[in-house]
Symmetry: C2
DNA sequence: TTGAAAGCGCTAACAG
DNA sequence: CTGTTAGCGCTTTCAA
């Protein structure tokens, strides 16, 4: 006889008054015992999919579970089933509203499916990302969502694809923001694509149409995909409308970076009527503060536009012209891409939002 | 003989070229086999804490693990060890910058300790929170951080404490934002307290000193702790300085709510020189937009102040007077409260930040 | 239908 | 120091 590995759950197992710690959580075993059924039966009524348990037993088990406050141990279920209910989300910085909204979308989807989302912060550091990916693999997540645009995930022939391949090998699905993420052997991950290039191009055209002829770009380091796409798209559109990109300043995705870049530009000199295009609203907000500090005016003097349409963009004065991205929806799509076998990539609507920070120029030039 | 439960890992187990799915991840067993050592030894060098493996074996194991791309299965480790490496974070809305910053702080701490953070969204719905708590228990997290201020978690003698008690019973630690969260049997959870009342009181005093005499408050439903504390504190300070709270409008924590409340107030009439205190910056921003839309001016006409000092508050024009909270640090503290046995509650610095949205009144009244 | 028993991948006594 | 061998809590054949 061996089922008595521990003391029988007969009495104290469910006693809520036992010490804060030390006591243990009720197990399936406890429930089965209390209900007078086998482990298998208890498992079937509580967690098994196909129902085929006599009503009488089912009731007793449910009652017992209720009485004991039983909750299945997710880790144990995961080891036994060979798959865990987690979706791992990788973002650069969860405090950044851009990622915050994406995360909200992912969480919404996961919640609908009873999955848990785990979140990791890369801080845009490739090494860090690498380590995280490795550790994440240990969770054997059903899906991995890469929302953290790293410099060259796709182009680096190095380690990353290998790491991602490992996920797919055991059946985990990798979804990336932005097209073309390799996952080894020439295969690419499913991807949620926000048409950064297209949106920026349209923005550039609109700005040119407004009469702007000279623009300064503020981006991240060259090679950072998102930034490159936006800057490139903007230049294309702006130039097609007769404008010219005067120069491009480099920094990162933080507000301070935008302020620093702008300060630098102002030092070198910025003519009235110039337009500043920052590749993200957060950076644009930083640029705006720098412009103000330099005693210049936003709008007629120096116009500014950004990208993302984070909530704050509508609140500043003058309100920021930008490109609206359906970030929450994008996060949700990423989630669907993981759970739907027949998922097909849907285009996400992007929209240019012209506001007061880029007033129309009365006279050209 | 039974160790050959599966086909020996001798050949294809590690073949990176095998199909995307279908193949399985390398197990400790595979590593041990390849290294020619026992499972126990492999476990010791790879995951065991106390080192006591001969250099030769250690190397062989490490080499094998490397070659196979082995990563320990977290779920299996969790079941075997009886504790899982997860910290569960409960927030109302991850897209809200308030929670985003807290989450960043928690993630920072977790990362330092190799723990994974799991995030759940309550949407401030008590039932939802209840369900989530229940499901979360299944993860047997080492810690549970309640950052989602629910209406009356603490005061409701109902279900919640019971649910939380379950966590503590098996050794999980519960940390709450805000004091006095019960976890059953009269015990309270460790708490990270942001002195909402004190900060608001100081703000109220400062506003009174600036010459304001009449204020309108915008809060969440009565009973919501955070909101009550802030509103109450502000009233105390403001009145101590000779001001008077004219009325309090109710809504929730969203921007639109602030706009709606303010619109209502404006309909009823708001005299020039009135100060509006919104219990959160996000709500204040909504109020500001409503004031503008009504054709009134922020500052000299209707002054506005908020609470939190989210990044956007410094970017709006006029910049918003508010109370700065060290949210990232608070999140980090919450994490420490979980992992440090001898954690002691540290006071978090709160600071009133007076900006242009509340210019000094030249003449009293 | 139900239950016995063999796993899932890993850890942790306990002997050698 | 190393290997054997029970577990951890749950799922899932496979007979009965």
């Amino acid at each position: 006889m061996n089922p008595e590995r521990r003391s029988p759950a007969a009495e104290p197992a469910a006693d809520p008054a036992s010490g804060p710690s030390g006591s243990r959580a009720a197990t399936l075993h406890d429930v089965a015992l209390q209900a007078g059924v086998s482990l298998a039966t208890a498992s079937r009524v509580l967690n098994g999919s196909e129902r085929k348990v006599a009503e009488g037993f089912r009731e007793r088990v449910e009652r017992a579970a209720e009485a004991l406050g039983y909750t299945p141990n997710v880790s144990a279920q995961a080891t036994a089933r060979g798959r865990s209910p987690v979706i791992a989300l990788l973002v650069a910085d969860i405090a950044d509203p851009y990622f915050g909204q994406i995360a909200a979308g992912v969480a919404r989807g996961a919640d609908e499916h009873g999955l848990v989302v785990t979140i990791s912060i890369t801080e845009r550091d490739p090494d860090r990302e690498q380590r995280i990916l490795r550790a994440l693999r240990g969770q054997r997540p059903q899906g991995l969502i890469l929302a953290a645009s790293r410099a060259d995930l796709a182009s680096s022939p190095g380690t990353s694809p290998v790491e991602l391949e490992a996920f797919e090998r055991y059946g985990g699905r990798v979804v990336a923001f932005g097209e073309g993420q390799e996952v080894g052997e020439g295969r690419t991950a499913r991807s949620v694509v926000l048409d950064n290039g297209g949106g920026a191009e349209e923005l550039g055209r609109r700005m040119a149409a407004l009469g702007y002829r000279t623009a300064i770009g503020i981006g991240a380091a060259s090679g950072v995909r998102t930034s490159d796409d936006r800057l490139g798209g903007f230049a294309r559109g702006f130039e097609s409308g007769g404008g010219r990109m005067d120069r491009i300043l480099r920094g990162d995705f933080r507000r301070e970076s935008g302020a620093a870049a702008m300060t630098e530009a102002l030092t070198e000199g910025v003519e009235p009527g110039t337009l500043v295009f920052a590749m993200s609203d957060v950076v644009a907000l930083g640029a705006i503060s720098a412009i103000r500090e330099a005693g210049r005016e936003i709008g007629a003097d120096i116009a500014v536009c950004g990208f993302d349409d984070v909530p704050a963009s509508g609140d500043v004065t003058p309100a920021l012209t930008t490109v609206r991205l359906p970030l929450n929806e994008a996060g949700y799509q990423a989630f669907r891409a993981i759970v739907d076998d027949d998922w097909i990539q849907a285009a996400l609507p992007i929209e240019v939002v012209v506001r007061a920070s880029t007033p129309g120029l009365v006279q050209g030039r």
